[in-house]
């Protein structure tokens, strides 16, 4: 028995409405996509949903008290709270450059958490 699950693709801002056709736990077809990314999203969203995560870490002596960071690849959705917990433990000291790795291979996901801007020291 094939089961159909409706999804909204988040691969790009178009937000296409997809239908994933599932049989025996496997996605056998994705309908409604407008590009290749939609097919990949439909399959991954059923089997192993992943998201980019963006948050902040504390920075000492910085122009602002926080520096924004993000995962350089999407992380498995169920791990997001644990990733945030790990990121919360980090504290940096200014100056910090953009693309600095603040957590390497977080929770063995193969994903690095990196800064998304320069943070100069307090003026």
């Amino acid at each position: 028995m094939a089961e159909e699950v409706n999804l909204i693709c988040t691969a790009c801002p178009q937000g296409c409405t997809l239908t994933a056709v599932i049989e025996n736990g496997e996605v056998i077809e994705v309908l409604g996509y407008n590009c290749k990314k939609g097919i990949a999203y439909g399959i991954e969203e059923i089997k192993d949903p992943r998201r980019m995560v963006a948050t902040t870490v504390k920075v000492k002596n910085g122009f602002h008290p926080l520096v924004p960071v993000y995962t350089d690849k999407p992380v498995p959705k169920p791990l997001i709270p644990k990733v945030l917990e790990e990121v919360r433990k980090v504290e940096l000291t200014a100056p910090v450059k953009v693309n600095t790795v603040v957590l390497e291979n977080v929770l063995d996901t193969g994903v690095n958490v990196i800064t998304s801007r320069d943070m100069p020291t307090k003026a």
Binding site: T17, N34, M52, H64, L66, P68, S116
Partner: protein
């Protein structure tokens, strides 16, 4: 810089970047080109003949004579006063963007229990962000029958964290003396009248507003720039020139975009055209025709176009629809009698901007027209 979430650059750079990283690319490009920037500087007035009065702590009072100007003041958020919510006036009612600045830049947490009014993108993004920082987002209320932000944000900001969204709902009253203690939510009919008996008191300490953005045009008015009451921004032609010669406008100051990538593209075009104007390369013999919003189209940008431009290059038209149509449609450009071009879309939604290109090959048709209208019809 406060938009630390991902999703920037997907269209223009083919990369998924957070706001600060996207901005940094352009900052570095600008610096490498040797462009001079006056930071922490305010333009106090602009005259119609492009004289600017400028002030800053670092440079004092400066007057600048410009050969061309690009207005790029962006937009600002609508506030409680603009949507007139009844009730008490306690602390704890903020715009989503204010909360975003506090949480992402300044390191303050505004709330423990939040209700968000409006389903704009910043509101949905703050729902996720506040959840990350330990707050409970009780509800997102949207007075319209459809989402006002992008569908992808409904998925990745609300559904992922089981945050309920109620369409056709609004806040009837804010409760609490010193601090927000609760809001009274209510269902509305299609004319936005409260439906008696549907009231629900939701305890919370904060109400965030994500109820739309207004192009920031106080300076434009002073310069004699005419504004479109529908978009809230200047009337522009296909080069983003306003009614005042030599004054151009680009981005959210013209109409509110969904995507920063398209804002950047508008900036490239306006910047190029302003530079051409400044060195007197602009064709003075414009043959303008108006572009009109037709069936299910709320507005079209540009508002008019010079037919001679189309002889040389494609022109992109951007618009918003009045009502969502969740079935395949044609976006049709016609001159009143004949179809000039049309583009299929699988659906159209007010929260998602629609674009259609007039191509140089359409010039023959357009050159005969006295105006163009865009209609959106089901396929």
């Amino acid at each position: 810089m406060q938009c630390i979430h991902n999703g920037f650059g997907l269209e223009l750079l083919k990369e998924d970047l957070p706001g600060p990283a996207y901005a940094q690319r352009f900052i570095e490009e600008m610096l490498s080109l040797g462009v001079e920037a006056l930071l922490n500087t305010m333009v106090m007035d602009i005259t119609p003949n492009r004289h600017l009065f400028v002030s800053s702590k670092a440079h004092g009072y400066v007057e600048i004579e410009a050969r061309a100007i690009v207005l790029a003041m962006g937009c600002r958020e609508r506030t409680r006063s603009q949507i007139r919510i009844p009730g008490m006036r306690p602390n704890g009612v903020y715009t989503a963007g204010t909360a975003q600045r506090w949480v992402n830049v300044e390191g303050y947490m505004p709330s423990k229990n939040v209700v968000i009014l409006g389903s704009g993108d910043i509101g949905m993004i703050m729902a996720r962000r506040l959840t990350f920082e330990g707050a409970k987002v009780e509800r997102v209320l949207e007075i319209q029958s459809y989402l006002s932000g992008l569908s992808r944000n409904l998925v990745q900001c609300l559904q992922d964290y089981n945050i309920p969204l109620q369409l056709n709902h609004t806040v009837k009253r804010i409760m609490g003396k010193n601090r927000v203690e609760a809001v009274e939510a209510v269902q509305v009919d299609e004319k936005w009248n409260f439906i008696p008996g549907t009231e629900e008191i939701i305890p919370c300490d904060t109400l965030l507003l994500s109820v739309g953005l207004i192009p920031e045009n106080e300076l434009s008015r002073k310069a004699g720039v005419k504004l479109d009451p529908i978009t809230g921004g200047p009337y522009v032609d296909e080069t983003f020139q306003t009614n005042v010669p030599g004054i151009f406008a680009a981005g959210n100051v013209v109409h509110v975009y969904d995507l920063v990538d398209w804002v950047s593209e508008a900036g490239f075009e306006a910047g190029k055209r302003a530079a051409q104007y400044a060195i007197s390369l602009r064709n003075a013999e414009a043959r303008y025709i108006p572009l009109k919003a037709g069936k299910n189209v709320r507005y079209v940008v540009p508002h008019k176009l010079d037919k001679s431009t189309l002889a040389q290059e494609d022109i992109r038209l951007q618009m918003r629809v009045t009502q969502p149509i969740e079935q395949p449609v044609w976006v049709e450009v016609h001159d009143g009698e004949n179809l000039v071009t049309r583009k299929p879309e699988k659906y159209v939604r007010p929260g998602e901007m629609v674009t259609v290109k007039l191509r140089a090959k359409n010039y023959a048709d357009v050159s005969k027209a006295n105006g163009l209208t865009i209609d959106i019809n089901p396929r």
